[in-house]
């Protein structure tokens, strides 16, 4: 699975981190870091993260 976060949109809300902690995390400066090619087993989590992102910045490509 391929995940893309539009970093121009992302405002570091961190909601995605709660939904899918294996894929998204906040780095030491409070900015978003993420795994761009997570395992397919994490799809449900990642879809939930995409749903809860207030800026709708997360896209799942295939």
């Amino acid at each position: 699975m391929k995940v893309v976060v539009d970093m121009n949109k992302c405002q570091d809300h961190g909601q995605c981190v709660f939904a899918a902690p294996d894929v998204f995390r906040m780095d030491d400066d409070g900015h978003l870091a993420y795994v761009p090619d997570p395992d397919d087993a994490l799809r449900d989590e990642v879809e939930e993260a995409a749903d809860v992102c207030p800026l709708q910045a997360i896209r799942i490509e295939d």
């Binding site: 949109k9 961190g14 981190v17 906040m26 400066d29 879809e47 207030p54 709708q56």
Partner: protein
């Protein structure tokens, strides 16, 4: 269940309901009916980035999931009535549509002030068209703005207006502090100060008696008789649930549509409600049904209600979301987790310094943490994540 599922309301709740019905295994017909002409779009930026001109209108549209590609969208169409016993809804073109399942997702609309005076020049912010119209007025040079109502939306609009260079921005509210109802006085005082430092004026403790002007508003007359000059007025005095179309079915429609602990309406297995319009008991708290106007609720409730509607709810625990809210004002952000309003009598600073604008505040009920609000910087945000985990672990609150 056969026939089709009708989703009433084509905003966030309606979209998520459609997507989650497909995810829950519903392969039958699915129609979403909404009275706005637009596909579902994101409302929070309407009082923030969109009003400020930092986000193009086109960026607001949600991208529906592929699973919802075959959903039928009937936009620009209003449901005028429902007959639940007959399983039908009536549309504004006079046609009647039958359903096997119904999702109520008609949300809310702004409450309006009923004072005498002209209507022109008075705005509310709920829809894309509202935000567009208000932006046109706020960007006029030298504009004087009066915001009536010091809740979240009012304070966001005031902050945005200052940012746009409005000549005067005044917020009026009968309550003594901004956002004090949901946040309590500790944070409300801090926020008042921060708004004032950034150029917003507050006239608190008194209401609006009338609007001055003939064809168009020129001022706001307060209860104490003073008149504030105004070129533009924004009314942000709460919201009313869109439930009129459900009348005549014996439902409890006092402040939204009442649901049971699984979001079912009127004891019917084939009718559920989601989002702003639903007045539901939250099993996490005291079981008192409440409407919760947070952006997180349409998504959470649609996930639950879809399972219930398609009968995939064996062993499903009662709906118990952790409410989540944020608000951006000037250069600061508020993030709220849980139900601070249930813990206003016992507010404690958990971390940071309120005056420095980087603080984490905890709300308690019977010594139990029920809500956390972070204001400002990264320390607050990081702390909030830790306390959010605590909130999720708390036992249910008993009244």
């Amino acid at each position: 269940m056969d026939a089709r599922i009708v989703v009433a309301g084509a905003s966030l709740g309606g979209l998520r309901a459609a997507e989650q019905l497909r995810a829950a295994g519903w392969t039958g017909g699915l129609t979403v009916i909404g009275d706005e002409p637009h596909m579902p779009y994101n409302r929070p930026p309407l009082s923030k980035e969109v009003l400020a001109g930092r986000a193009p209108l086109a960026s607001l549209a949600f991208t529906p999931k592929a699973s919802a590609a075959d959903v039928e969208w009937r936009l620009g169409t209003r449901i005028v009535a429902a007959r639940l016993a007959e399983r039908t809804v009536e549309l504004d073109d006079g046609s009647v549509m039958s359903y096997g399942g119904l999702v109520v997702a008609t949300g809310t609309r702004p409450r309006r002030l009923r004072c005498p005076g002209p209507l022109a020049g008075r705005h509310t912010v709920r829809t894309l068209d509202d935000a567009r119209a208000l932006r046109d007025e706020l960007t006029r040079p030298g504009v004087r703005v009066v915001v009536v109502g010091a809740g979240f939306i009012g304070c966001e609009v005031a902050a945005t207006a200052v940012g746009l260079g409005a000549a005067e921005v005044t917020v009026v509210d009968p309550l003594p502090l901004p956002m004090v109802g949901p946040l309590g006085d500790l944070l409300a005082l801090v926020l008042l100060k921060r708004h004032e430092e950034r150029g917003v004026r507050f006239l608190l403790g008194g209401g609006v008696a009338a609007f001055a002007g003939d064809d168009r508003v020129t001022g706001v007359v307060l209860n104490d008789g003073t008149t504030l000059s105004a070129d533009v007025v924004v009314e942000s005095v709460g919201s009313l649930a869109n439930t009129e179309w459900l009348e005549g079915n014996g439902l409890d429609l006092t402040d939204g549509v009442l649901t049971d602990e699984h979001l079912r309406v009127g004891g019917r297995p084939n009718v559920v409600a989601v989002g702003d319009v639903a007045r539901f008991p939250n099993a996490r708290y005291d079981g008192v049904p409440r409407r919760v106007e947070h952006w997180s609720i349409p998504t959470d409730s649609a996930r639950h209600a879809a399972k219930v509607l398609v009968g995939a709810d064996a062993g499903l625990a009662p709906f118990a979301p952790l409410p989540t809210f944020w608000s951006d004002q000037h250069d600061f952000r508020l993030q709220s987790f849980g139900a601070p309003a249930l813990g206003l009598d016992d507010i404690r600073v958990l971390d940071g310094d309120p005056d420095a604008g980087d603080v984490l505040v905890g709300y308690h009920c019977h010594e139990q943490l029920v809500g956390v609000v972070a204001l400002g910087g990264q320390a607050a945000a990081r702390g909030a994540a830790r306390y959010r985990a605590d909130l999720l672990k708390q036992p249910a609150l008993t009244a």
